[in-house]
């Protein structure tokens, strides 16, 4: 009894889908169909082109900046040259000459 009812509903649904197919025939394309597609393609290509150019410019700028920074770090700077070249002993010898001994002067403690 129940399966008969279900069969009936299935048949009704199938008939409805068939009727739907007939009720929705393929519409004809307008005369503007093809030109509109090409217009959309060109618009997309144009936007992709500008996006690509922008991205390339950004990449170039980033590369130039990176090279610039690398060069800046690589080239030795005169101000820092002494620090890098001189050893601790040389620096110590330069700042503590023999007439200025490194030990504490007891007479200064009382001051």
């Amino acid at each position: 009894m129940d399966s008969n009812r279900q069969d009936g509903e299935n048949a009704a649904l199938d008939a409805l889908f068939r009727a739907y197919r007939e009720a929705c025939p393929a519409p004809d394309a307008s005369a503007n169909f093809m030109p509109a597609i090409w217009q959309r393609i060109e618009e997309r290509q144009r936007s992709q082109f500008f996006l690509g150019r922008w991205a390339r410019a950004l990449v170039t700028a980033a590369a130039v900046l990176s090279l610039g920074m690398a060069a800046y770090l690589y080239i030795p700077h005169p101000r820092n040259a002494n620090v890098n070249v001189e050893s601790y002993v040389e620096t110590s010898a330069a700042s503590h000459t023999l007439d200025a001994p490194d030990f504490a002067d007891p007479s200064l403690d009382e001051l």
């Binding site: 279900q6 009936g8 509903e9 299935n10 009704a12 649904l13 199938d14 409805l16 889908f17 009727a19 739907y20 197919r21 007939e22 009720a23 929705c24 025939p25 393929a26 519409p27 004809d28 394309a29 307008s30 169909f33 093809m34 509109a36 597609i37 959309r40 393609i41 997309r44």
Partner: protein, 199 residues
């Protein structure tokens, strides 16, 4: 196949004339499929153009010309799905939910200027739209391709890249929901089916 493989290969190589031939060959079929998938006549052409636009920019990803038709169906289904999702978001306003054709028809119906045949077709469209509202957009498309477009499970398998058994289960469940909605509407075209019969 509606075109030679050579035309597809030429279109893949960037030949505009070959792409034109492709569009001309598949235009009618694609418009028909979209008309049945989205059921808003004034938007059919726009969605079809979107399909061919996507085709143009994805042709180079097509590995062999033999799978062109399932590929095109896949693009059609995706474009229709995107459209239906956008439509669902716009559905707040009831009046804007009516298509231009529906508004004109409703007006004409009120004035008694429409013949019986046209009225019946409109009624069938509205009934099926309501019934298909009982399932998700994805299942609506699958059900339409199978039951209305008449595609086989093998063809659907190629389009969806899903195993046949999984498709069968999805189709069965979607059909059960639609049947439930049909029973609730009294089983008659034109009966008011519930908007959603649970997903």
């Amino acid at each position: 196949m509606l075109v030679d493989f050579a035309i597809i290969q030429r279109a893949q190589g960037g030949d505009s004339a070959a792409f034109n031939d492709l569009v001309l060959a598949y235009r009618k079929r694609t418009l028909g499929t979209i008309a049945r998938l989205i059921s808003r006549p004034e938007d059919v052409e726009d969605v079809a153009q979107e399909v061919f636009l996507r085709l143009y920019f994805s042709l180079d990803q097509l590995r062999t010309a033999e799978v062109f038709e399932p590929w095109l169906y896949r693009l059609t289904v995706n474009a229709a799905y995107d459209y239906l999702r956008k439509q669902r978001r716009r559905r707040e306003s009831r009046m804007s939910d009516l298509s231009e054709q529906q508004v004109v028809l409703a007006d004409a119906l009120a004035g008694g200027r429409v013949d019986h045949d046209v009225r019946q077709r409109q009624q069938v469209r509205e009934t099926v739209d309501e019934l298909l509202g009982a399932v998700s957009e994805a299942d609506r498309l699958l059900l339409t391709l199978k039951e209305v477009e008449g595609l086989s499970l093998k063809e659907l398998e190629k389009i969806y890249r899903v195993k046949e058994n999984a498709l069968k289960v999805r189709l069965f469940r979607a059909r059960q929901r639609v049947l439930k909605a049909l029973a609730a509407s009294g089983g008659q075209p034109g009966g008011s089916a519930p908007a959603k019969a649970g997903r």
